[in-house]
Every structure is written in C-alpha cells, then in structure tokens.
C-alpha cells in the first residue's frame, strides 16, 4: 500500500496555528481507506433493548451490506467510555466465529466517528486487519426511562465540574450551550428566529426520512418561536433527542473495497482538534467557536480540498448552536456570519451546491433523527455519496462530517468512489 503524499510539516503549514487549541498531527492517509458497508438498527425512544444487542445488530447489517461474512471481519473499533459497547468475545459469541480480531477502543461515535478512519488506515497499513468494523450504539432512552442514568452523568462525576460548576447549577449540557449561545448572540447579533433555521431544516429532513424518531412531528419557525425556553435562548427543539439505536460501518482498503458489493466511499481527509485546557469548556478561551476550528483545516489540507467544494455535510448537532458554530468553523462562511448564512433554505437537501446551498444533516441529525452521537451522520453521508439517500442531494460527490465532544472536534472528508 502506498504511503501518501504530504508530510506532517506540509499539513501543519497548510492547516495553520491557533492560540486556544491545536490540531493533532495526523499523518496523511488520503485515498488509503474506504467505507465499504453500512448497517443500522431501528432508532427509537425507550426500546427495552441494551446497547450491546443494538451494536451486534448494526454490525451484522454492515457486514451483510458490504457483501462480507462475519468470518471476514478481523478488526473491531468501539467507544472507550460511552455506553456498553461490544468486545471481540461478544462478536464471536454472537456470530459463532473464532478468527483473531484487531481491537481498538478509539472508535465509536462523536469525534471518533471520524478519527476511527485514521486509526483504521494505520491498522490496514500495518497489515493488522483487512476488514474493520466501527460500531456505536446507545440505549440511553431506555436507561433514562428506568432511572439508570443520563448523558449528563460523566459531567456530574468529574471532580472540578462537581465542585465548581454543579453547586451553581451550571449543568447539564444544555445549560453550557445556552450560555455560549447567549454570548454568540451578543457578539454577532444572531436572533432566535435565525437560530430556528437549523432545527426547522433538520426536522423537515426527518419528516421525509423513514426511521427518524421525529418523522411524524412537523416544526415551523413560528412553532419554534412559540415554545418556552428551557435554558434561554435554547428551547427543547434546540437540544438533541435521547434515543436508543446504533450503527456501524466497515473500513477496508480502497483496492479491496472496489471488489466488494457496494460503491466505495473513500476517506480523503481526517482532522482532530483539541481545545487548550480541556476538558473544562467553562475555561475555553473562545466560547463562540468550537474545536472544529483546528480539525477542519487539517482534514481539508489532507484532502487537498476546500470547504466550498462540499456537496453535503453532517454536523454534530447536540445543540443547534453547536451545529451553527461548527458550520462556520468548517470554513463554510466567516465567523459570525452563520446566522445569516443558514437562512433561505441553504441547509435543505433540495438546495444543492449548484444553487448556493450546503445540504446539512439530511437524515434529521441529533435534533430530529436520533441521538446516536454522530455514527448515523456518517452513515447518512455514505448513503448520499452512493446515491442511495432518501433525501438525496443532487450530484453528491464530496461530503464532510463534523464531530464534536465539546473540548474536541473532528472532521472526516469523504468522496464518492
């Protein structure tokens, strides 16, 4: 396998320097790895199922979609600390297999839905695996329904947050991002009506998307403005759902992917950015920007592409405001212009690049499709680049995912193979 073109020094020079965070120096893997199969479970509220079952169902679907057999899978990537994920032992017990499996906990959703492609490329280079499944599932809707935990638990258990933030009620996550949204409105004049464009566009996509949790519920700008804020200026419609569900995809070399059943989707660039002083976003120097600022330039430098060439994007939208800031931080418009930029249907699937659009979260995103932490965002982009999406974007050739964990961001640039 060829080791591609640009040196780390070249990538650093192209990606630039910042005074409040930095990009992780990921070496160039452009054109080495492809996504050859995708699989999903149903997405829902409380299902009574556990995350491991959901993982296994998604993995089985992804393997079948690629035209592979479970015995062909020799790599497995899961999330380190979020929900119950599967191990190679679970894989073998479920599929009745016994092959050696390269195993990494640097996979899953959020930022890892993107950065797993880089780790997978390195494992492929080293010959440690040929077909690697990245999987992520959550059962948080069921857990919340049973009183067994919430997505805020980690934040409440971290010592500094527990001792300096919780006693003042700066918790849970919607409160953080409401505070950031208020500041953003002050600095850039964003209005609540402008912010509504994100939840309304994503809901419209979900309304047309089988399997989206909010498929049956419409949302207009007026509906949105009529709702009372939960943590002002954010309303319930600005906050992600809590869901059960999972998804998986198969990484392999581009050469191998060309022999498999599906049209390959090729990884062109990967970026990962970290805010200085992480993990305390209360102490982040900039609260009107995200670590996408550091990740995106790296990924676009590796892909030798620019954001203006993107046909479709999927942006981690735990909150409307985080999606808005990441759209800016990816370089799709200038800082502070996002509120204006997203108006007039610019994020709609049926306003393609040829008409000035940048279709975003065409499955409905975390706000209206399901809260599976970004893994379904990447699956949706694969469908778009194969030409199989429900809300298909015209001539979709180049796509990008923006991943987020608050103190870290990631970017995955994908091209139709």
């Amino acid at each position: 396998m060829s080791v591609s073109g640009q040196s780390l020094e070249q990538l650093v020079r192209r990606a630039g320097y910042f005074d409040w965070g930095s990009a992780v120096p990921l070496e160039d893997i452009r054109g080495e790895v492809a996504i050859a199969g995708i699989g999903e479970t149903p997405y829902s509220g409380p299902s009574g199922r556990n995350a491991r079952d959901l993982c296994l169902e998604a993995v089985a679907a992804a393997i079948a979609d690629a035209g592979l057999q479970p015995a062909d899978i020799d790599g497995l990537m899961v999330s380190k600390g979020i929900a119950d994920q599967i191990t190679p032992e679970d894989f073998h017990a479920h599929f009745g297999t016994s092959q050696p499996i390269w195993f990494s906990r640097e996979g899953g959703g959020m930022i890892w839905a993107a950065t797993s492609a880089h780790a997978a490329a390195q494992a492929l280079r080293r010959g440690e695996a040929r077909h690697i499944v990245n999987v992520f599932a959550v059962d948080w809707a069921s857990r919340r329904a049973d009183g067994r935990g919430t997505p805020g638990d980690w934040h409440a258990s971290e010592v500094m947050k527990a001792h300096f933030e919780l006693p003042f009620g700066w918790y849970p996550q919607p409160v953080y991002f409401a505070t950031f949204a208020r500041r953003y409105m002050h600095e850039f004049g964003l209005t609540e009506r402008q912010l509504a464009a994100l939840p309304v566009a994503f809901r419209r996509h979900a309304n047309r998307h089988p399997g989206a949790v909010m498929r049956e519920k419409s949302l207009s700008v007026e509906d949105y403005l009529d709702r009372a804020p939960l943590a002002d200026p954010l309303r319930m419609e600005d906050c992600c759902l809590i869901s059960d569900g999972g998804a998986a995809y198969v990484y392999t070399s581009v050469e191998r992917a060309r022999d498999l059943r599906q049209r390959p989707v090729i990884v062109e660039g990967v970026g990962r950015g970290i805010v200085d002083g992480a993990p305390y976003i209360s102490q982040q120097k900039q609260i009107t920007a995200t670590p996408q600022t550091f990740a995106a330039p790296w990924a676009f430098a590796m892909a030798d592409a620019n954001p203006g060439e993107l046909d479709v994007i999927a942006v981690y939208d735990c909150f409307s405001i985080t999606a808005l800031m990441q759209i800016e931080d990816m370089g799709l418009c200038s800082k502070g212009e996002g509120g204006h930029f997203i108006q007039d249907g610019r994020l709609d699937f049926d306003r393609p690049r040829s008409r000035g659009g940048i279709p975003c979260n065409t499955h409905g995103g975390l706000l209206s499709h399901a809260y599976v932490l970004g893994i379904a965002h990447v699956v949706e982009l694969v469908k778009q680049l194969r030409g199989e999406a429900v809300n298909q974007v015209e001539n979709a050739e180049l796509a990008a995912y923006a991943g987020f964990t608050a103190d870290e961001g990631s970017t995955l640039v994908l091209r139709r193979g």
Binding site: F164, G169, W170, A228, P229, L230, A231, S282
Partner: protein, 140 residues
C-alpha cells in the same frame, strides 16, 4: 449531588473561604497568576500554589435563565453565569447572578460580588460567591 465539600483537599478551600464570605482562587506566587481550576502545582513553573483572596470585581461573560424542568437540583428558575474576575482575567468563574432581572443583563457589564446562601432542593444550604450587576450607590 450539588452540595460543595469543604473537606476536599483540592477544592474544599474555595468553599471554606466562601463560608467566611471570601472569594479565593488557586494562585501561583512565582508566576503571579491564577491556576484555575486548581492543580497540584503550577503548570508553568511547577511551583506551589496557594489560595488568594480576590477583589470581587468582575465582568459578565455570559449567562442563561434555567427553567425548573431543566435542572431540578434547585427550586424554580435561576441564572447561572460565567464571569471574568478582574484580578484573574484569563479565567472564568461559574456562579449565579442574583438581585437582578434577566432584561437588565448585558454581556461584558460590570458585576459586584455578593455572597448569598444557595438552597438545593435536597440537602443543606451553603454560602456561595454570587454576583449582581454593579450599581453606583445613589445618595439618600
């Protein structure tokens, strides 16, 4: 659990000082700057840290009005905020704003320190460093 722990070796001194109505931050004498949140030693010079009492002057970075349903740890709505202490401008304090209406709040406005008791829905009340919009006192 929102109750602060005055016995915690790392974070307790902040709350102990608060109970005496002093606002303190972890400080490196040698670098003469705040180290926030506290660490075992100064990340710049490795020096020992101590707790320094701040003036209490600050500006408002941002805030939000939290509804009852969002965080049931407190009764009713409240206004958590990020403020920038004048003596430690590279840091943010998480706090609450009191004695004000949301309509009068503006980012970057000057604030004054005002100690007050916070009463969680469960557990004992605790003295906390809170802030209020700075108002010039007008004579009687």
């Amino acid at each position: 659990m929102v109750q602060p722990d005055t016995n915690d070796p790392v974070t307790g001194p902040f709350w102990l000082a608060a109970s005496e109505q002093r606002l303190v931050m972890s400080w490196c004498e040698r670098c003469d700057c705040a180290v926030w949140y506290p660490k075992p030693a100064c990340p710049e010079c490795g020096g020992l840290l101590h707790w320094k009492t701040l003036s209490g002057d600050a500006t408002l970075l941002s805030w939000t009005v939290v509804s009852k349903t969002m965080n049931p740890s407190f009764n009713g709505s409240y206004i958590p905020a990020l403020v920038v202490p004048r003596d430690a401008p590279g840091t943010r304090l998480v706090t609450q704003l009191v004695d004000c209406e949301p309509a009068e709040l503006v980012c970057d406005m000057p604030l004054a320190l005002r100690f007050g008791m916070l009463q969680p829905r469960e557990g004992d009340p605790y003295m906390a460093p809170l802030f209020t919009p700075f108002r010039l006192r007008v004579g009687p």
